[in-house]
């Protein structure tokens, strides 16, 4: 925050001209000598050396792991049970006449559940976080309620919540509420559970914005809400993108739990295949599909963070 003008590079502590500290210790070496030179000097000649080292070490590590797997007594059995190409392909495309579903098609349900749940979680969690951050006395009952909510849903295992919603709500026999599909109940359970976590992430983000920002916004005449909306929240959200993404990667995977209600999502489809054919390669397919989903999300968030930082550091004009 202090004004570091591109002015004179004053060094108030030492007064020693900068850049002269590299000659500590040993005697000066002529540029050509490799005698007692330490690491960096040797490597700086060609940029290829580090690449070679990292490639070799990667090959050694991967080779060792492969060797351990191949040399294990049961490796052939595991390979057949989990990595059979034929079973992987068959479970991927599915065959309803044989009594099993396509894992590749079922993953779309996971994606849809994830997308719907994500939007709802972002909204509900924000509402809860704002309620918990409120200070007005009249808000006390709601504040208490949301505290209880967060404590409860962070404490109860997600799988129990899914069971409770997915089996309990239909049993109530209510008009519209009780006649939804299992996927809807699954999404509801995911939203309830994850909102509790994500509201805490929001709260951390809101607290990470210094109070002086609120003071500055309010001093300009902005209402409490406008200050929150335009000044505090944008900064809070920027600060919590990485943990938020972390929760959403977790959410993508946890859509697989909805399968316990009988919904044919990827994990359930893989489960059915394995029961029909007695081969677990279908689970490997599901695992690969989940990986394909989560990795782009991680990269996307990295790029968001980088873009935001670049924009702020680079400024608008030269």
């Amino acid at each position: 925050m202090e004004g570091n003008q591109p002015g004179p590079p004053v060094d108030p502590l030492t007064g020693v001209p900068s850049g002269s500290s590299g000659t500590d210790g040993g005697p000066w070496q002529p540029p050509g000598s490799f005698g007692s030179g330490r690491g960096p000097r040797l490597l700086s000649g060609g940029g290829r050396r580090p690449v070679v080292i990292s490639t070799v070490s990667t090959l050694v590590v991967l080779g060792s792991l492969t060797a351990i797997f191949l040399l294990a007594p049961g490796s052939r059995a595991v390979e057949h049970a989990f990595f059979s190409p034929r079973d992987m392909w068959r479970s991927f495309i599915g065959n309803p006449r044989q009594g099993y579903y396509s894992v590749g098609a079922a993953i779309w349900l996971n994606i849809r559940m994830f997308l719907v749940a994500e939007v709802l979680i972002l909204v509900l969690a924000l509402v809860i976080a704002l309620i918990r951050q409120s200070t007005h006395p009249a808000m006390f009952p709601v504040r208490l309620l949301s505290t209880v909510y967060v404590d409860f849903f962070r404490g109860v295992p997600l799988i129990l919540v899914i069971f409770a919603i997915g089996l309990g709500i239909p049993a109530l026999g209510l008009a519209v509420v009780s006649s939804q599909s299992d996927a809807v109940y699954g999404v509801a359970a995911l939203v309830l559970s994850y909102s509790a976590y994500v509201s805490e992430v929001y709260r951390a983000g809101l607290n990470s914005v210094h109070q002086s920002q609120t003071a500055a916004a309010r001093s300009l005449g902005l209402s409490r809400w406008t200050a929150l909306r335009h000044v505090i929240l944008p900064q809070a959200v920027r600060n919590i993108i990485p943990p938020l993404l972390n929760d959403f990667i977790s959410l993508q995977k946890d859509t697989a739990l909805v399968g316990i209600l009988g919904t044919i999502e990827a994990n359930k489809a893989a489960d059915i295949y394995s029961e029909q054919v007695f081969n677990f390669s279908s689970f490997t397919v599901a695992a690969i599909l989940f990986l394909i989903l989560t990795i782009p999300l991680a990269r996307f968030t990295d790029s968001l963070i980088a873009r935001d930082r670049n924009r702020r550091l680079a400024g608008g004009t030269a």
Partner: protein, 278 residues
């Protein structure tokens, strides 16, 4: 470094309305009393920071508040902007009470701008948006017009080429000048400056003081908490010395700095002189 543009611009005589295109939707701005503070008290927990402040500020007057850190200068300014809830006493703005129940603090803050020691620019917005946010959201100024007015102000203070930069990219002095412009964009009648140069590198102090001088020259009513004694002597109509939450002495600078009456003021000024700051 940017020189502050002075000269025969719209600065002189614009008073509480720094922008030439200012409108007349503002409260009565008579000559005479602008702020009247009576028996103002403020505590933070068990710590009473203000112990009964009485002060009247006349329109176009520049008052400097001096005193050691913790003497209550900043708290007094924050109370005036209604950023702090006061415990006792009254504040009147143009004769109307602004403390107590039923006061629209957002309305009051439109007329009283405050600038902080730590700038407090919004880091996620560029300079232009920092300045136009409040006029657009609070006053309902159309965005294009708000930007036009912001550019006029930026130009007046030599900051026009920074309009698209983000605060991170600016020097402390530039940030503080933008913060002043941001407050001015609301066309306040009164400006409160809370140690606005205290967080700056010494070589950046002058550019900010220059901006304040121009505001004073334009007739802006100002309350300035400052440690810059030389500046206070130059610019103030009155200087108030605070100690332990009370105004100990309130006098024109020529009198207070050369011939302080109260023994506590004398002691404070002696320390300032010994530190080479006066």
């Amino acid at each position: 470094m940017n020189a502050v543009s002075r000269g025969p611009g719209p600065g002189a005589g614009s008073g509480g309305d720094p922008d030439p295109g200012g409108d007349a939707g503002l409260p009565p701005q008579p000559e005479g009393e602008a702020i009247r503070i009576e028996g103002l008290r403020k505590s933070f927990g068990p710590n009473e920071v203000l112990k009964g402040i009485d002060l009247t500020v006349t329109t176009h007057e520049v008052i400097c508040l001096i005193g050691a850190s913790g003497s209550g200068k900043s708290t007094l300014l924050r109370c005036l902007n209604l950023l702090e809830r006061i415990d006792a006493g009254r504040i009147h703005l143009w004769g109307r009470p602004v403390t107590g129940e039923g006061v629209n603090s957002n309305l009051v803050r439109r007329y009283i701008g405050i600038v902080f020691q730590s700038f407090n620019l919004f880091p996620h917005m560029n300079v232009l948006r920092n300045i136009t946010l409040a006029p657009v959201k609070v006053l309902g100024t159309p965005t294009a017009q708000a930007q036009e007015e912001a550019r006029a102000l930026l130009g007046r203070f030599g900051l026009l080429e920074k309009q698209l930069d983000y605060p991170d990219r600016l020097s402390g002095g530039q940030q503080q000048r933008v913060a002043i412009v941001r407050a001015l964009a609301m066309k306040p009648q009164i400006m409160l400056l809370d140690e606005v140069t205290s967080a700056l590198d010494p070589e950046l102090v002058a550019e900010v003081l220059e901006v304040i001088r121009e505001l004073a020259g334009g007739g802006m009513t100002m309350l300035i908490a400052t440690h810059e004694m030389g500046f206070a002597r130059d610019i103030a109509n009155r200087v108030c010395f605070l100690e332990e939450g009370r105004i100990i002495e309130d006098a024109p600078p020529a009198e207070l700095f050369t011939n302080p009456r109260d023994e506590r003021t004398q002691r404070f000024l002696r320390r300032i002189v010994e530190a080479g700051r006066l």
